[in-house]
């Protein structure tokens, strides 16, 4: 269980995380989603007591992270791939971490086997690929067999097999009743792994919802209707919360009514339909729509007008300040 209350972090004039409150519950994988620079890593560092919040609090399993007598048994964390001394072997890295809470050597061997690093465990971590670094990070997170796991972008650098492996591992860990909190900037990955979503943008909470709800909200867009009697249908559909627009002869875009309702209305009035298609926004589109205003680093739009360009310049000044 992770509970953040009005968590705020400012670096000088720049606010990385603003008044963020959320609860991560045990038993399900919770995705922590946001564009690059949204404040995900900062939030995770605050959960682990590495960064001190400017204001607000965050607790893990009911207490400040630093207040736990045996933190590795409470929380396992992968903060960045290769947070490892490049000159040290994977085995010695894990052994040194394990020693802080008296975790036995046999457990170090266990996690090395679990993440599939047996063959390279005695090699210097500096020569590891990004994917191997991720596996080593996951090994250190699992070392203390913790109740809560915090993983920052764990699939980065993994090959498809590795991604599948971590997806199943996370689900399995959650099904054992653990709290699993995973950040990503890839909506599609989260849709496959997570059950619950916490979405942030520019350090603010945008959504705290189940994945299913997020998907349905994303799809509750418009319905495309094509009919030879479009004008007649348009009159019949008109209502207080309904907007109907037409982009081409015989085609309607209806917002505010389900495709079921439109089909029924058409049938009752003996109107022929050629097409009745709810427009499914993809998850990525829904995510981008949600966070669109909250993206911090944006590639310059080649068609951008002068006003936009000035806006961007302001943004850059903020970032470097």
């Amino acid at each position: 269980m992770i509970e953040a209350r009005s968590l705020t972090k400012r670096y000088g004039a720049k606010t990385a995380v603003a008044d963020l409150s959320f609860t991560v519950r045990p038993g399900v994988v919770t995705g922590f989603l946001g564009p690059n620079g949204a404040g995900k890593s900062t939030t995770m560092r605050m959960i682990l007591g590495l960064d001190r919040p400017t204001s607000g609090t965050v607790t893990v399993n009911g207490a400040d992270y630093a207040a736990h007598a045996a933190p590795l048994h409470e929380v396992g964390a992968l903060l960045e791939a290769k947070a490892v001394h490049t000159g040290r072997s994977a085995f010695n890295h894990l052994l040194a971490l394990a020693a802080t809470t008296g975790i036995p050597r046999s457990r170090v061997d266990e996690v090395i086997d679990l993440v599939g690093l047996r063959d390279v465990a005695r090699k210097r971590a500096g020569g590891f690929s990004l994917g191997m670094g991720q596996r080593l990070g996951i090994a250190s997170a699992l070392l203390g067999d913790p109740e809560t796991l915090i993983l920052d972008e764990p699939v980065n650098g993994l090959d498809p097999e590795g991604i599948l492996w971590i997806r199943n591992l996370l689900k399995q860990l959650a099904s054992e009743g653990r709290t699993v909190f995973v950040s990503s900037h890839l909506m599609s990955e989260m849709a496959l792994t997570a059950e619950h979503l916490i979405v942030i943008g520019q350090g603010r909470l945008i959504a705290d919802t189940s994945v299913a709800e997020f998907v349905s909200r994303a799809s509750s867009g418009s319905v495309k209707v094509r009919s030879p009697q479009a004008a007649r249908l348009r009159e019949l559909l008109a209502g207080p919360d309904v907007t109907v627009s037409s982009s081409a002869e015989g085609t309607l875009q209806v917002e505010g009514l389900s495709s079921d309702r439109i089909g029924t209305v058409a049938a009752e009035n003996r109107i022929t339909l050629f097409e009745l298609a709810p427009k499914e926004a993809s998850l990525e589109e829904a995510f981008m729509e949600l966070t669109g205003d909250a993206v911090e680093y944006r590639a310059p739009d080649p068609a951008g007008d002068r006003e936009n360009r000035e806006d961007r310049e302001d943004r850059e000044v903020e970032v470097t300040a």
Partner: protein, 280 residues
């Protein structure tokens, strides 16, 4: 009776009762594993101690060779104890760099986040690093000091100018060499924690140890020289290694060394405060 297998979870662990608290002893063990599992630890100490021995023996050899033709003024300043140990001056470079790297190596690689999330109270990490490092440096450099001392006397004995362990000052200077080098290294650990980048911390350390005394020489042209120079960190610390203490113009050996230790303690206090307070 059938044995019931413990269920094994996704983390690969048999769920066992957890009693593993973080203690200073365990953190000490962890830091010892870290120290001994890096090649740079061995290389730095090996290079430092080899250079110290080579330089000390070279000085001893040259002086022995030139002894018969040496003018009396030169002979009067000769110290059979201090000369073979002069190589400490080189060794302090290696030890200082290693002291800095013990900390900054973790910052440059990101390891520090793993270390501090394993030990969120943070200060046990600093104390453990300092202790493990100090013990390793003290043991190796004190042993090297003995090797240098006896090696030098082997040359000097051919001219009957050798010292023994019972010569006044011999034990002080031999052990003093190991102590001085250990404190130099601890200054490095402290500055590494404060500055957090290897280059910056090494620059600060050697500016303090090597550059300050040279700048201080300017003061010798004013009345300020005697009031400032003896109390500069390295001058104070090296007072412990002076053989002819009467005319040295430095502090008395042990008060000088105590002042040097005080500088290191103050540095470590600032380091501890900043480590606790800053974001990792």
């Amino acid at each position: 009776m059938t044995a019931v297998a413990e269920p094994t979870g996704a983390s690969g662990a048999t769920r066992r009762p957890r009693s593993g608290k973080v203690t200073q002893t365990r953190v000490l063990n962890s830091e010892w594993i870290k120290f001994r599992s890096l090649r740079s630890s061995y290389w730095s100490l090996l290079v430092g101690c080899t250079a110290m021995t080579a330089l000390g023996l070279l000085f001893s050899f040259v002086i022995t060779e030139k002894w018969d033709t040496m003018v009396p003024g030169r002979r009067a300043t000769f110290g059979a104890i201090a000369v073979p140990l002069r190589g400490y001056y080189l060794c302090q470079l290696a030890v200082g760099v290693l002291g800095v790297m013990v900390v900054t190596g973790e910052y440059s690689t990101g390891m520090i986040r793993a270390s501090l999330s394993a030990v969120p109270k943070r200060l046990p990490v600093l104390w453990a690093k300092a202790t493990v490092f100090a013990a390793a440096v003290w043991l190796t450099t004190t042993a090297t000091a003995f090797v240098c001392f006896f090696g030098g006397q082997a040359f000097f004995s051919t001219k009957h100018i050798e010292a023994t362990l019972t010569t006044p000052g011999a034990v002080r200077i031999i052990f003093g060499t190991g102590l001085y080098l250990t404190v130099v290294g601890l200054l490095g650990v402290g500055l590494g924690t404060i500055i957090r980048t290897t280059a910056g911390a090494i620059a600060a350390l050697f500016a303090t140890l090597l550059v300050l005394p040279v700048l201080g020489e300017v003061l010798n042209f004013t009345s300020w020289g005697d009031k400032v120079n003896p109390y500069l960190p390295s001058n104070a610390g090296q007072a412990l290694l002076v053989e002819h203490t009467e005319a040295s113009g430095q502090m008395r050996p042990w008060p000088g060394f105590v002042l040097f230790v005080a500088y290191a303690v103050a540095t470590m206090a600032v380091a501890a405060y900043l480590l606790k307070k800053r974001d990792a």
